[in-house]
Amino acid sequence: MIQKQVPIVFNHHLAGATHVLGFDCAEIARAAAPGQFVMMREVQPRGYLLNRPFSIGNVDGNTIEIYYDAVGKATHAFAELDKGDELDVFGPLGRGFTLETWAKVNVLVAGGIGIAPFPFLAIELAKRRPQTHTVVLAGFRSAPLVVLADLFAEIGVGFKVATDDGSQGYNGFVTGLLEQELDAHGNNKVGVYACGPELMLKRVAEIAVGRDVFCELSLEQRMACGVGACLVCACNTRAADGAADYKMVCKDGPVFNARDVVFE
C-alpha cells in the first residue's frame, strides 16, 4: 500500500455518466490484483473532504485505469480533470477476487458501473487460466448506456448485454441472463463473479448458492478511510458458526464469498 500524488494520463467520457480515468503509478500497478481498489481525491478537493473508493479497472504498464460514474460532488469534480492534473491516491487496498477455482467457465456479472473491476479480472483470468472460457454479462438501464463492449471483444471474452428496457440484448435484469447462462453450462464447472447494486448481488447470490456454484461478490459501502481504521464500511456476514458478524468491506473485502454475505 502506498500513498502518492499521481498524474492523470487520460480522462474520457464513455456513455451516460460513465467515464474512464487513467493515472500513472508504477508501485500500485506492480502490486494490484483484480477486485482490489484505490482511494482517490483531488489534491485540492473542491467541495468534499474524504477520499472515494474505486475498483482498479485495469492495469496497463504503469497506468491504472478507473471506470467511474460522475454522480456526486467528488466524481463530478473528477470528470472535470484533464491529462496532467494530479490526484492523491492510495492503494492497492482490500481483498480481490479468487483467481484459482475449479471452474471451466468464468461468468462475470455486472450491473451498471459494477462493470468497473471486470476488464482487469477478465485479462488476469485469460492469462492465468488460459484453458477456461470467460463471459461478461452486463446489465444496463438502456442501450445508450452500454460501455466496454469493444474492450471485452479486444480482450477476447464473451460479452452479453441485458437492458432493463429491452433496447439491447436480453430484455430484463442481468440476473435473468445469468440464469440462462447457468442453464447452458454444467453448474459445477462455472464460477460466478458479480459486482453491482445490492439488489442485483442479492439475487446473484440466491441463484448461485441455490445451484451450489462458486460465487464471489464485490460489495460497495460508504467508506471514510479504506484501510479498516474508521469501521464505517461494515457489511453483515455470517461467521463459520452461523452467527452474524460485521466485516469491513475495505479490509475484509470488497470481495466476499456469496455464501458468507447476509442481505436484508
Partner: protein, 312 residues
C-alpha cells in the same frame, strides 16, 4: 527543541496524538505513517467483551465533515491486551487506551484489567460516545459523570483522561464534575450529534429517510473545529488539569490554535482518514513553527492566547 508535554502524570514526547476510533489500535496505517513519531496512540474504545457495533450504513460525508455511528465495534479488553498492545509496546509507542462501558461496573472492570499492564500509558474514559447506549448519559449528566470518574479513580492508579461531550449546554459543569471525581486531564471534545437525510424519490414512492441506520451519528472533521476550540478555551479557564484539544484538527496551524488557547496536547481524528500522514505532518509542522519563531519549549506556547481588547 523540547516538544514533550506532561498530561496529568503521563509524559509524552510531543503533543500530537491520534483520536480514538480513527487509528485502530495503531496498527492500520503502519505502511503509510511512522507511528513511533507520534506523542501517543489513543485506541479505539475498548469494552469488557468484544462488540459488533451498529448495523450499516454507519457513516456518510457531510459539509466539511462526516457523520459516524459505528457503535464501538472492538475486540474486547482481553484481546486488546493479548494481541493489539504488544506491537505498540515493542515499538515504544505511548498508548492511551480509550475505555468504554455501559455501566460503572464495566468501566471499572476494564480499567482494572488494564492496570499494571506494561505499555499502557494512560486511560481515556469515553463518557461521551453519542452512538452507544450508556456512553453519552454519563457525559451529559454531571452527577453520573462524577460518580463514574470517582469509581474508576479508586480502581486504578493509571493517569486518567476523561473525554467530554460537546452535547451539553455548559461543558464547564461536566469538566468540573470530572475533575472533582479525580480525573488527571480532560479531552475536549467528542463528536457533535447530527443527522443526515436521504430525500428518496417521491415519484417512486420512496419517502425521505435517515442516511444512517442509527438515524443520528457523531459529526467530526473541520466542520466542528470552531466549536471545539471554543469549548477547549472555556474548559481551560474553568479547571486546573491539562486539557487535550480534539475537533477538526487537520494541520499544524489548527493544532497550534488549540495549544494557544490552552490545550496541552491535541488529538487528530478525521484528518487521518483522508491523509494517513496527518499526525506526522502536524508533528513536523509544529516543530517547523517552533524553529521559525525560536520557541525552545512547546510548553511556552501553551495558553499564550490573549484577548487584546477590553470587553465592551
Amino acid at each position: 527543541m523540547k516538544m514533550a508535554v506532561n498530561i496529568g502524570g503521563a509524559t509524552i514526547k510531543n503533543p500530537v496524538m491520534t483520536a480514538s476510533g480513527t487509528y485502530g489500535y495503531g496498527d492500520v496505517y503502519t505502511e503509510l505513517c511512522d507511528v513511533t513519531r507520534l506523542g501517543a496512540v489513543v485506541t479505539k474504545g475498548v469494552t469488557l467483551e468484544p462488540a459488533q457495533g451498529n448495523p450499516p450504513p454507519r457513516g456518510c460525508e457531510t459539509a466539511s465533515g462526516m457523520l459516524n455511528a459505528i457503535g464501538l465495534q472492538n475486540v474486547g479488553v482481553a484481546a486488546f491486551i493479548a494481541e493489539k498492545l504488544p506491537p505498540l509496546r515493542e515499538r515504544g509507542v505511548a498508548c492511551v487506551v480509550n475505555v468504554q462501558g455501559s455501566s460503572i461496573t464495566e468501566f471499572v472492570a476494564v480499567s482494572q484489567k488494564l492496570t499494571g499492564i506494561d505499555g499502557v500509558t494512560a486511560l481515556e474514559l469515553n463518557v461521551s460516545c453519542p452512538n452507544k447506549t450508556g456512553g453519552l448519559s454519563f457525559g451529559t449528566d454531571p452527577k453520573a459523570l462524577n460518580t463514574l470518574v470517582t469509581a474508576v479513580r479508586k480502581a486504578t492508579p493509571l493517569p486518567l483522561m476523561t473525554k467530554l461531550s460537546p452535547n451539553v449546554t455548559d461543558i464547564t459543569v461536566c469538566a468540573r464534575a470530572a475533575v472533582d471525581g479525580g480525573t488527571d486531564s480532560l479531552s475536549v471534545m467528542n463528536t457533535v450529534i447530527g443527522m443526515a437525510v436521504n430525500l428518496g424519490d417521491p415519484s417512486r414512492g420512496i419517502r425521505p429517510r435517515p442516511v444512517l441506520r442509527n438515524v443520528t451519528g457523531g459529526l467530526s472533521g473541520p466542520a466542528i473545529k470552531p466549536v471545539a476550540l471554543r469549548m477547549v478555551w472555556q474548559v481551560v479557564q474553568a479547571v486546573d488539569v491539562p486539557v487535550i484539544g480534539i475537533g477538526g484538527i487537520a494541520s499544524a496551524t489548527d493544532a497550534l490554535e488549540f495549544l494557544a488557547v490552552g490545550a496541552s496536547a491535541v488529538q487528530i481524528g478525521t484528518a487521518s482518514f483522508y491523509n494517513p500522514r496527518a499526525c506526522e505532518e502536524v508533528v513536523d509542522g509544529i516543530a517547523a513553527y517552533m524553529t521559525e519563531h525560536t520557541v525552545a519549549d512547546i510548553n511556552d506556547l501553551i495558553g499564550t492566547f490573549e484577548i487584546p481588547w477590553t470587553a465592551t
